[in-house]
């Protein structure tokens, strides 16, 4: 479904700040695969995500979604294949627009937007059904401005908006990092539910190793622009946070504690 081939990118080439963000990354996600990505700061996790989304261009390599090479497509042109949830709960919704209007914006993903009504009676029914699945009571507040919702509610709504039109790829960029533990657990649970329900091919970056082990069917660890560990579902299930840290030390021979990883 998603194929990343020989992806490389160097920031600030030829200067003292030169940094190889990605070194020849290869990664293939099968249909419905849910991959969690962990790694220290500057490992290249977000760079990979941004290249799949089209926010960053690679120096070399290709990104292929469902057999279509999208490497050169602008972010909004490949948006019809990709659902995204951002780290900032404020980033995924339009604050001055109502809940149902936000849902309508998401509903029209990648289609031509004409002069038809954005929210019709039929669509509203669909939105209510979808919002019910969040179990946050948002279906009773269709006319509420999204800016009035709490961070957790907004992030849950962002997640629903990114997914209910069933994109080919779902990208989650530390989407629970800015929430308090309770809300983070809620959004984690919803993520699991939604990905399973729609069988979405998912790439999730996280700093939380616990979460990386709990969610998903495959785990990838990145360091210094490379993938240094790739665990399938079975291997992943037997892993603990401690094991992960051990793996990291073994491969890199570097002394790292949980703290550095979480930074």
């Amino acid at each position: 479904m998603l194929e990343i081939k020989n992806l490389s990118r160097t920031f600030f080439p030829g200067t003292v700040n030169e940094r190889k963000a990605l070194r020849n990354i290869n990664l293939t996600l099968g249909n419905g695969e849910f991959v969690t990505v962990i790694g220290s700061n500057g490992a290249g996790k977000s760079t990979v995500l941004n290249m799949v989304a089209g926010k960053l261009q690679p120096d070399a390599g290709t990104v292929t979604i469902d057999g279509k090479n999208v490497t050169k497509l602008a972010d909004f042109r490949r948006a019809k294949y990709i659902g995204r949830v951002f780290q900032d709960p404020m980033a995924g919704t339009a604050p001055t627009m109502s809940i149902e209007e936000n849902m309508a914006l998401a509903y029209a993903r990648g289609r031509f937007r004409g002069l038809g009504a954005g929210v019709g009676a039929k669509r509203r029914e669909l939105f209510v059904e979808e919002l019910k699945s969040l179990e946050l009571g948002l279906e009773n507040r269709l006319k509420t401005k999204v800016g009035l919702l709490s961070g957790g509610q907004r992030q849950a709504l962002s997640l629903l908006m990114a997914t209910f039109s069933e994109p080919k790829i779902l990208l989650l960029d530390e989407h629970t990092a800015a929430l308090d533990p309770q809300r983070a657990a809620l959004v984690s649970r919803l993520t699991n539910q939604i990905v399973e329900r729609h069988q979405l091919t998912t790439l999730m970056v996280t700093h939380n190793m616990e979460q990386a082990l709990q969610l998903g069917t495959r785990l990838i660890m990145m360091h210094d622009g490379q993938i240094i560990l790739d665990l399938d579902s079975e291997q992943k299930q037997q892993m603990t946070v401690k094991d992960l840290l051990g793996e990291f030390e073994k491969i890199k021979g570097a002394q790292l504690d949980d703290r550095t990883m979480l930074q």
Binding site: A94, L105, A108, R113, G114, G118
Partner: protein, 306 residues
């Protein structure tokens, strides 16, 4: 006074355009000073050359759209700062407007205009004409509100609200900005066309400071009516435009001269911007509101721009 209300309702068309860019797209567009005159010039020259006044006004709308599209292209494709892009188009339009008219002033005396039948019937400056102008502005408010609730219009609102987000749903924010600027300046051009027909001439200097009138209308309206619903916000713009004219009228009655009007406009905008921030004013407003907004919402209220 009635003349002031009439003028206010005509300028409200322009203010609705400014509302589209300033509030919906969150884009401070200075093209307005040029495109207002462009609309007036195109309509005046067309009418003098025997074009039907309705068609002439439509041409003014299209000319305004073209001007707005240029600013949009400069800003999005040329990556020029929004304020500068508007200024560049505005200055360029000054020469273009002179080219369109061939001289600094085009009189419309004795020509058949949109206003001349009203003048002939003797209803200009009466409640009837106010009713007609009010109806026209209501139709335009309805059109703007309708548009902003279509899929395209909602994409435009989202562009002004959260660009990153709406791009992730497949909308070209560049195209939305160009379209918004074009529609906005189309309305501004049409307003200029009607003003020219109302006052009986188009003048190359008539657009100077129009952006301030537009901003004053939007901001004054916003200070009076809640922005919770789009239709109320759009209606507030019309009311703001009329109030602005009345304040100007009062200032003139009080002994200030026509030449002081730009200063009055600027002072009015400053007052409308600063007054809501003053704590004493907030208290007064609160005492009038039946249901005070919850404390936690106050921060979001400021962000609310639709």
């Amino acid at each position: 006074m009635i003349t002031a209300v009439e003028l206010g309702l005509i300028y409200a068309i322009m203010a609705l355009g400014v509302y589209l860019t300033f509030r919906i797209l969150d884009f401070p567009d200075l093209t307005v000073d040029g495109s207002f005159t462009t609309g007036a010039a195109v309509a005046a020259v067309s009418i003098v050359n025997g074009v039907n006044p309705w068609l002439a006004t439509l041409l003014a709308f299209l000319a305004g759209m073209a001007a707005g599209a240029v600013t949009g292209l400069l800003h999005t494709k040329g990556k020029i700062d929004g304020l500068l892009a508007g200024i560049l188009t505005m200055i360029a339009l000054y020469s273009i407007n002179l080219r369109i008219m061939g001289k600094a002033n085009t009189p419309l005396l004795g020509e058949e205009t949109l206003i001349s039948p009203m003048r002939a019937a003797g209803i200009l400056g009466s409640w009837t004409s106010i009713g007609i102008f009010f109806l026209v502005s209501l139709v335009l408010v309805a059109a703007v509100v309708w548009f902003l609730h279509t899929e395209m219009g909602m994409a435009m609102r989202a562009t002004g609200d959260n660009q990153e987000m709406i791009r992730s749903f497949g909308v070209s924010t560049d195209n939305q900005k160009i379209l918004g600027l074009a529609l906005s300046n189309g309305l501004v051009g049409a307003s200029g066309a009607v003003v020219a027909q109302y006052q009986g001439f188009a003048d190359v200097g008539m657009g100077i400071g129009v952006i301030l009138i537009g901003l004053a209308s939007v901001i004054v309206g916003q200070a009076i009516l809640t922005q919770r619903y789009i239709w109320l916000a759009a209606l507030a713009v019309v009311i703001g435009a009329v109030l602005y004219r009345l304040v100007i009228q009062l200032a003139l009655v009080a002994g200030l001269e026509v030449n002081d009007m730009k200063l009055i406009s600027a002072v009015l905008v400053v007052i409308a911007l600063l007054l809501p921030k003053w704590k004493g004013f907030q208290k007064i407003v609160k005492s009038f509101k039946r249901t005070p907004a919850p404390v936690t919402d106050s921060k979001e209220e400021v962000r609310t721009n639709a």
